[in-house]
Subunit: 311 residues, 2 copies
Amino acid sequence: MKALWFELGEASLREVPMPVRTSGESLLKLRVAGICNTDLELLKGYMGFAGVPGHEFVATVMDSDNADLVGRRVVGEINIPCGSCRLCHAGMGNHCPARRVLGISGHPGCLAEYFTLPDRNLHPLDDGVSDYDGVLAEPLAAGLRIADQTPVPDSILVVGDGKLGLLTAAALRRTGSRVWLAGHHEDHIEMLRPLEIYRDHGGLFPMVVDCTGNPDALDDILDRVEPQGKLVVKSTYAQSPAVDLSRVVVREITIIGSRCGPFAKAIELLRNPDVSKVLANVRQEVFPLEEALAALRVAAEKGKLKIMVEN
Amino acid sequence: MKALWFELGEASLREVPMPVRTSGESLLKLRVAGICNTDLELLKGYMGFAGVPGHEFVATVMDSDNADLVGRRVVGEINIPCGSCRLCHAGMGNHCPARRVLGISGHPGCLAEYFTLPDRNLHPLDDGVSDYDGVLAEPLAAGLRIADQTPVPDSILVVGDGKLGLLTAAALRRTGSRVWLAGHHEDHIEMLRPLEIYRDHGGLFPMVVDCTGNPDALDDILDRVEPQGKLVVKSTYAQSPAVDLSRVVVREITIIGSRCGPFAKAIELLRNPDVSKVLANVRQEVFPLEEALAALRVAAEKGKLKIMVEN
């Protein structure tokens, strides 16, 4: 089968053996996949990655021990915990030290004709949700994760108007909070009008979410957090940014690291027509799997939003 | 009157005019003051400080509009909020942007024969609490602050066995948690035996408190925090330490900046005989006010615990 392959900083499209599902896993046929900044970081050598990348997808279940799943369109959670360790038993499988992660660590990704995932990772999609919207369940879930970690205040500033910022702002807006967005792309901010999210007007906020992906921006972002307020960080960086912790202490700011989120809630969001309007704008180009290398190149262009690959 | 004076990196003992109390303030005569690392940082130029330092004290109220206070031994909170701004109205006076801070910013400190503070900052001390123990109400309150900010787990690691670490460990132990202490001074850790606090035994903790005062240690300290755990930072640093925020994101760690705490609860702690035994060991030398310069020099020596000045 065809698959995108990353190795030693080079991307290629190649023939690889069909994956074999183990007991408890489904064999999945890709419908549509998204390219994420993490994929671009993996290509640059983040985590010493080699293999098939990709972790945002809608797929069809071709084979499974669970007959109810076969033939269904599904999205899926990317962490594959060991199921046996202390953290797994404590319900913190996403932090299992022995976990594999779809297309990121120890488990081949979805940028291929076929791939596998445990049945328990899969969430069937309703007919009302398109493949293109479904691909964004994973990053939307990541935005929703924030509300699972900490009480969300009335007013939130999201900094960064790339795809992560737009999806995080949309997810947080649906919790009922008023959300402002800071960024350089007027047209990106315009996309959030259906959700009544507007351009940052300055001032301090009880919660600020960093979606810039730019470690040098962090110090300025800290300035926008109210005393006793919260700074949520969602980006992973190759280098360690310098953070003015004295300001964090004196103003008693809480910094919250936030990662993968609840798929069931994200799928609920996908059914909302206003959210769907936003997602249609976040999706910028769709390439066939044969042109995955071109898709990668476009995804890496500055200011690009979501690039997808279709099987 | 005699006062310690900091200016342009130089400490001196000099004659300064008696302070004049305004309406709502008490005139205080120093009994005993503590020298804090913040004082040593101010001397090095932190915050461009010039004037009388000192913010840990037990004093006698000499004059006050509040007749009940006159003649009482008191300790006192160090923040003097404006009382009028949005944060003051929201009950966050400790974060008032216009606040003055005893011996740190805009208000002369307690390392002098006399000083003033608003009546509402003062807390009378019972006869059962010695002057020497009372001086430690301020740093003990800072340790107790953590439990006011966030739920405290069953097991806590305090890193750093200087005076801040010892007092923070003691304060956290009294919340009922089991507390371990990491540090290089075997004799300091021994001091905490009456409270059943023992030497760090390795492993991960749901809460780690940084009391090292060493920005370079932060990255190693982050390694001791469990996934979804909390890192509490209490030290202020002249430079911005580099923090591996990717690890904070991937492991969903929460970093909590923590500062001044509840005096009433700290005074309760001072009444506990086991706490008092620890405090007796944390206090290392007491100098008369006339020898405040020698006290400063000793306080700056490596590995020294609490140095006090007596009027």
